[in-house]
């Protein structure tokens, strides 16, 4: 039974990495948000499962926050933002999808090696879960690096945060305060960025970061 618990936890963590790859692969804003909601849902399951396995009721709260905030409210709000901004069509990536995917593979391989070496003493499942969490973080950063659009950068940022929550839920005994504060910080960041997006667009008629760079005189 113990083995089964761990297997399910493992599978859910792997599912999170898979959804990160799906985020990397998506080129459309609306489907990007749908996949992001899916990732948050998988995160909910993963954290909920950890709560069940570890008998840690406070993790249920984390799971609930992830579900309500990230799987429902934020994607819904962002999709409204996207529609109002009129950018629910294509988003361009820097340097092609296949290259991005290859870079993503490299990130996963790297996090595997790092975790295997850094935590050689820990039991294999824990360290592989941590390796998955690190992969999700790196892939989230990769999304932020490869996308030009501000909204997809928000998605990348929150994907990074998903990875952190996964790591925290796996490591036993994370205080609830930290989680709540992290969740709220994301919410605040979302609101701030959301407000800024509209202000930016009002001024520059675009949410392309390139335009902002141009305005600052950082021509490439």
């Amino acid at each position: 039974m113990e083995r089964f618990f761990l297997d399910v936890a493992h599978l859910l963590a792997g599912g999170l990495v898979l959804t990160s790859f799906m985020l990397l692969y998506q080129t459309r804003m609306s489907s990007l948000l749908v996949v992001f909601a899916l990732q948050a849902f998988v995160l909910t399951l993963a954290v909920g499962w950890q709560a069940h396995v570890q008998h840690a009721p406070h993790l249920y709260i984390t799971a609930a926050i992830a579900l309500i905030l990230k799987a429902i409210i934020i994607p819904y709000a962002l999709s409204r933002v996207v529609v109002r901004l009129g950018i629910h069509r294509s988003i361009e990536t820097v340097g092609g999808i296949s290259l991005t995917m290859l870079a993503g593979m490299g990130c996963v391989a790297l996090s595997m090696v790092v975790m295997m070496k850094a935590m050689a003493a820990a039991d294999p499942l824990t360290r592989e879960d941590l390796a998955f969490a690190l992969s999700v973080v790196l892939l989230g950063m990769l999304i932020m690096v490869t996308r030009r659009n501000a909204v997809s950068q928000i998605v990348g940022f929150m994907s990074v945060e998903n990875g952190l929550i996964l790591a925290a839920a796996g490591a036993k005994g994370m205080p609830l305060v930290v989680e709540i504060s992290v969740a709220f910080s994301v919410l605040v960041a979302f609101i701030v960025i959301g407000v800024f997006l509209f202000r930016i667009r009002e001024r520059f008629d675009s949410v392309e970061l390139q335009v902002l760079d141009d305005y600052r005189g950082e021509r490439r």
């Binding site: 083995r3 089964f4 297997d7 399910v8 493992h10 599978l11 963590a13 792997g14 599912g15 990495v17 898979l18 790859f21 692969y25 999808i97 296949s98 995917m101 290859l102 993503g104 593979m105 996963v108 391989a109 595997m112 090696v113 295997m116 294999p124 499942l125 592989e128 998955f132």
Partner: protein, 317 residues
């Protein structure tokens, strides 16, 4: 005596896949029609189509070569042999040691090469477009398939399908890399069987068609054989998914009539479930642009590679 029994079971398997293939096709068409709120053709319509085709005369293009006339049989034979080697209701069939999963993938590759060649035989532009796109898809789908084989083989310690099925029955566990391989295999299966979103099996006269473009010049009995081979291929992939990822019910160990009966019933249930899921997926998604397909298949290749990588790095995945 044992040998004769073995051969008989093997023969039953070969005939069963042949007999069931059009039924699966009919089932998917019917379910699809129902999901779209249409009445749909009867379940047995594919059999009638095959019968009708085989009774019609062949209209052969003037410059068609010997390859064009013999290729349908080669395509059919390669697909049939491959389908006969996948455990459906029982493992360890007599000839199952003939070829492993890599060889089955390569047999399907032979069938595809012949199909792509005959697409170019008459020298029409439609045939060429089909062949060229088919080979482009294959150049990504085949490595993806090999990577899936790697994942499965590394988990089960064998590339032999019977062994894989028995291993999966005994050591059923949730593994991340197997999950990745399943997603990748579904993508490859969609592409190989020319299903939506890669190709549309129901259209003609569209520049987006691939499989239908290659067989455009065929008629009569040749077309019947090719259609049967295509149906067999669909059955093969559904059986493959069932045998690797959902091996429950497949008769293994000591052969007994009860085990075979159970295997047959679960096999039919798996076919029905697989067909239903396929159609449900198809009706909920639109066909892709042709040059989106390489990205789709590339994703399968990446998933397979990721799964293999995970297994190389650690055996606990």
């Amino acid at each position: 005596m044992v040998l004769i029994l073995d051969l008989a079971v093997q023969g039953v398997q070969m005939l069963a896949v042949l007999a069931l293939a059009p039924l699966l096709l009919g089932f998917t068409r019917k379910v699809k029609a129902r999901l779209l709120r249409r009445q749909g053709p009867p379940l047995l319509q594919p059999y009638r189509d095959l019968l009708r085709l085989s009774r019609k005369e062949v209209v052969l293009a003037e410059n068609a070569s010997w390859l064009f006339r013999s290729a349908p049989y080669m395509i059919f034979a390669a697909t049939w042999v491959a389908a006969a080697l996948v455990p459906t209701f029982a493992t360890g069939l007599h000839f199952s040691w003939t070829a492993d999963l890599i060889a089955i993938a390569a047999l399907l590759g032979s069938a595809r090469v012949f199909l792509a060649l005959v697409g170019m035989d008459v020298g029409t532009s439609f045939g060429g477009i089909g062949s060229s796109r088919e080979m482009m898809f294959a150049s990504l789908a085949e490595p993806a398939m090999i990577m899936i084989v790697f994942v499965v083989a590394l988990v089960a310690g064998s590339t032999q399908l019977s062994h894989i099925a028995i291993f999966m029955q005994e050591h059923a566990s949730l593994r991340v890399s197997l999950g990745l391989a399943l997603v990748a295999l579904v993508i490859v299966a969609l592409a190989e069987n020319a299903r939506i979103p890669v190709d549309n099996p129901a259209t003609h006269l569209e520049l987006t068609m691939v499989h239908e473009a290659m067989v455009l010049e065929y008629s009569g009995r040749h077309l019947a054989v090719i259609e049967l081979a295509a149906a067999l291929k669909l059955l093969l992939y559904v059986s493959l998914v069932g045998c690797i990822f959902f091996p429950w019910g497949i008769a293994s160990g000591e052969p007994s009539p009860a085990a075979y009966a159970l295997g047959a019933v679960t096999y039919l249930a798996k076919l029905a479930a697989g067909g239903f899921l396929l159609v449900a997926f198809e009706t909920s998604i639109a066909k892709m642009r042709v040059f989106r397909v390489p990205e789709f298949l590339g994703a399968a290749l990446m998933l397979g590679l990721l799964g293999t990588l995970l297994l190389f790095v650690s055996r606990t995945f």
